[in-house]
Amino acid sequence: MATCTYTVPDKNASGDNFYGGVICNQAYVDYFWNTYGFSGNKVYWDDGWGWDDCCNTNKPLARAFNGCYALTYSAQDYLNDSYSSAILNWGRRYVRENIDDLRSFCGDGSAIARAKGGGLVEVYLGFFYTKDVPGRAETLIHEARHQGGKPHNANFPTGSTFGSGKSGADSTWDYEGAWMYGALYLWWYYAAGARTTSALRERARQRGNVVIDNAFATHPGFSI
């Protein structure tokens, strides 16, 4: 058991102020709690994490719900989650089908989230407080891809921002690993994200490009 503290700006560009105004509705709370792996894990979202204050976006649970809202509703036609559509549509379905348990921890600062196998994903302080709202959706997709059976299979290339030669990269775009899923989601969010701003879409583009440039052993040869 660890105890952690964090200073949260009420007004910044994370998106929590505005997504937070939307998610404060029992229908969303019910849907997110029962769809994205919170159910059965109350103890991990209590004690300051927001279970008893789930509309308060200073606390992690509401910020996780914000990410779930972006994940669920960022496609204009969000009711279509067919796998023949774009990942912006079916990302929510992929997360739903691959993450059974979503649990929060302080973490040690060395990770945003971790897929632990068996459908369990842990999310740490950085998930709530350093990621913007769409970035949390991207993280859920990234970790869901690990749960879907795709570990990282290569070392980061020379000069990578993630660390030259370190393990944790994907070999290629066509490997369809967690980095590809995350970057592709951000790419679609930039191109077609609904109910958001040009600023958050541009931020998705910038992050997606840095991932494309640095997280594949072989550069895909394109950018956003």
């Binding site: 669920t72 969000y78 945003i112 944790g168 910038q206």
Partner: protein
């Protein structure tokens, strides 16, 4: 880790606890006594994160008064950027993006300084999914985007800075400069850029193309299909207090 599906199972491990401290906004404005302008900056940055059908309109409305005073806003925003703690990556990014959004030629030198500033050593060396160097590079590629916008509007100084950073140590910054200059520069800029890349043996950057997401290889997500009978649809997207955004 104890596997736990039932909320009433005795739990020996004990969960983590968190205490969140709230501040109104992340900025100090130590160098700006213009409270009205400071409030406009806070509002514009806040509106960057808008959500809902009118989020973009409201963000643009927040930008408008800042663009009218862009000359002085550039100085305030850049001073605030420099005053931010290094680890406030999102807040630093939002200020850089605001500089970019002002589309003021006076932003060229601040953006240049942001790109030029040395990238601090990685603070998350043991991680593969979080990287402070990556955050720093994102801040700088966003500064490049600001220069590209100014270049597109004919600001020659912006083109010169893009050319200078086309030999940056970091691939993403070089790539962004090269793509931006090829797209918005004049023929002479492109010629000079090609010569630079050839001299450095970095012509491969010219082969990295900006493409539409619809042209990119897509992921195949359907490992299995959930029967429509068991699939539960989400509620409509607009049940919440959207009118307040």
């Amino acid at each position: 880790m104890v596997d736990r599906k039932s909320s009433d199972t005795p739990f020996l491990g004990g969960p983590d606890t968190l205490e969140a401290k709230v501040v109104e906004h992340p900025f100090s404005f130590a160098g700006s006594r213009d409270r009205e302008l400071n409030a406009l900056v806070v509002e514009a940055v806040n509106r960057m994160g808008g959500s809902g059908e009118h989020a973009e309109d409201r963000y643009q409305r927040a930008l408008a008064p800042l663009r009218e005073r862009a000359g002085e806003v550039v100085d305030v925003v850049f001073a605030e950027y420099e005053a931010q703690p290094e680890e406030s990556y999102l807040d630093r990014w939002s200020l850089v993006y605001l500089l970019s959004e002002l589309r003021d030629p006076g932003a060229v030198q601040p953006l240049n300084r942001i790109i030029t500033t040395r990238i601090p050593a990685e603070k998350a060396k043991e991680s593969h999914d979080t990287s402070t160097v990556t955050e720093e590079v994102m801040i700088r590629t966003t500064a490049v985007e600001g220069l590209v916008r100014l270049s597109a509007e004919g600001v020659e100084e912006a083109r010169k800075v893009l050319l200078r950073h086309a030999k940056h140590q970091r691939l993403s910054i070089r790539r962004a400069c090269v793509q931006g200059l090829m797209e918005t520069g004049e023929d002479a800029d492109r010629k000079e850029l090609r010569a630079l890349l050839k001299e450095r043996g970095d012509e491969g950057l010219l082969r990295i193309k900006r493409i539409d997401v619809r042209e990119a290889p897509q992921a195949i997500g359907g490992r299995f299909v959930v029967s429509p009978d068991v699939k539960r649809e989400p509620p409509p997207h607009d049940l919440g207090r959207e009118g307040e955004d």
